[in-house]
């Protein structure tokens, strides 16, 4: 079985643009906005969500025939919470600084609607391998938006990318200043609004 045949690739690639969890399905916005002041925590967050989403999809798909329908939400929550605890402990051990910056938002991966949504919509009805790919795909789609928002906010807010200064020093001598509004929470909302605007304008004909 070729894992990258077109049928297999669909659950992985679809959520990246066309069916993006943040802009098209409107899921998981809560954490998407708060961690995007700088690019580095945003990437770590994206990676954590991708890992949790992929593996919880895999686990639920493996045991989907054993879960009684009436308690499936609790089972899903327990699986997600256990995975998030693992991610949290790993972050605390190997990337303490970033874990401090992310603060409560690591824990909030549990209530991230993307993960619950994918478990309900995909993993409960599909085989493990496509579920794993679907989970990774949605995590990456989420990560893409996160990285995009964080890129804009760090570039214009701090004049740097991943902590490296990229704005030429000459700009500052000419009177250029970092836009401190971009760092503040409201701007994240407006940037996401604009991203949705651009994306909808492009996919309009598909409707």
């Amino acid at each position: 079985m070729n894992i990258f045949s077109s049928k297999q690739a669909k659950p992985l690639l679809n959520p990246l643009l066309k069916d993006n969890p943040v802009t098209a399905q409107v899921l998981g916005i809560c954490s998407a906005l708060a961690v995007t002041v700088k690019l580095e925590p945003a990437l770590v967050m994206a990676l954590s969500v991708t890992a949790v989403c992929g593996f919880s999809n895999l686990i639920i798909a493996l045991i989907r025939n054993l879960i009684p329908n009436s308690i499936r939400i609790i089972v899903q929550l327990v699986v997600i919470a256990a995975l998030v605890i693992i991610v949290d402990q790993i972050l605390k051990a190997f990337a303490y600084e970033v874990s401090k910056q992310l603060s409560v938002y690591v824990g909030l991966i549990i209530t991230n609607c993307i993960i619950m949504g994918r478990l309900e919509a995909f993993a409960m009805a599909n085989k493990p391998i496509p579920s794993l790919l679907d989970g990774f795909g949605n995590g990456l789609g989420y990560g893409l938006i996160l990285a995009l928002v964080a890129f804009v906010r760090e570039l214009f807010g701090s004049g740097s990318i991943l902590g490296w200064k990229v704005m030429p020093g000459g700009f500052y001598e000419l009177g250029y200043q970092n836009n401190s509004l971009v760092i503040l929470p409201p701007m994240a909302l407006i940037i996401v609004g604009v991203i949705i605007w651009v994306q909808k304008a492009h996919t309009k004909e598909a409707k």
């Binding site: 802009t23 409107v26 899921l27 998981g28 916005i29 809560c30 954490s31 998407a32 906005l33 708060a34 939400i73 609790i74 929550l77 327990v78 919470a81 256990a82 998030v84 605890i85 949290d88 402990q89 603060s103 409560v104 824990g107 909030l108 549990i110 209530t111 991230n112 609607c113 619950m116 503040l184 929470p185 409201p186 701007m187 994240a188 909302l189 407006i190 996401v192 609004g193 604009v194 949705i196 605007w197 651009v198 909808k200 304008a201 309009k204």
Partner: protein
């Protein structure tokens, strides 16, 4: 007492759940189409926050925190169960939401039917989980402060959702570019509302 009041006001206006921390955005955007439904959801959130945060506060201080078990037996003084806090908090929230749902259904059927599907949905509302996690991170001194924080956050969330619902009702007939309609404009309005809420920043009580 003064401290409690300051936490209460601060969590409504300055540390607003939606505008400063983006918690509960999913249901905030999905439900804010009319003022009436937003009112129901907002009240339900206040109520659930008011129950879950104090319960989680007690659990945190008498079960999970490093050394919290010493009241049980002195030899347990160095036990640290804080890594379990995520799973305990979410279990408490899910079960309390279930319990509240059953109690409300039994004793206040009118309220139950007006809240409808919102009650069960609250279990996965990030604002509820977020409040418990903030409570853990900020280490409030006593249960009164934690309760004031819960009430304040709930009211702040309610205020935000009522505000956006009222605005969205008014803009139904506005001439917005097609791709921006619905979700896009809701985000931008929320951004503008957040800017206006920022004027509360720096207020010291």
């Amino acid at each position: 007492m003064e401290n409690i009041f300051s936490i209460f006001v601060k969590s409504i206006f300055i540390d607003n759940m939606i505008f400063a921390y983006f918690l509960g955005m999913c249901s905030y955007l999905a439900v804010s189409k009319t003022v009436k439904t937003s009112m129901g959801l907002g009240l339900a959130v206040i109520f659930v926050l008011l129950v879950t945060v104090p319960v989680n506060y007690l659990l945190e201080n008498y079960l999970l925190k490093a050394g919290a078990l010493s009241w049980l037996h002195p030899s347990l003084a160095d036990a640290d169960l804080s890594f379990l806090s995520f799973i305990i908090f979410i279990a408490v929230i899910a079960s309390i939401v279930q319990l509240v749902e059953m109690v409300v259904e039994k004793f206040a059927p009118a309220l139950y039917s007006s809240l409808g599907i919102f009650l069960p949905l609250i279990a996965v509302n990030c604002a509820i989980m977020g409040a418990s996690l903030f409570m853990q991170e900020r280490e409030y001194a006593n249960i009164g402060e934690a309760t004031a924080f819960a009430l304040g956050s709930g009211i702040g969330w309610w205020l935000a959702i009522i505000g956006i619902a009222a605005i969205r009702e008014r803009i139904t007939y506005s001439n917005i570019p097609k791709p921006l309609q619905g979700l896009g404009i809701a985000f931008i309005i929320t951004g503008l509302m957040a800017i206006s809420f920022m004027s509360f920043m720096g207020i010291k009580l």
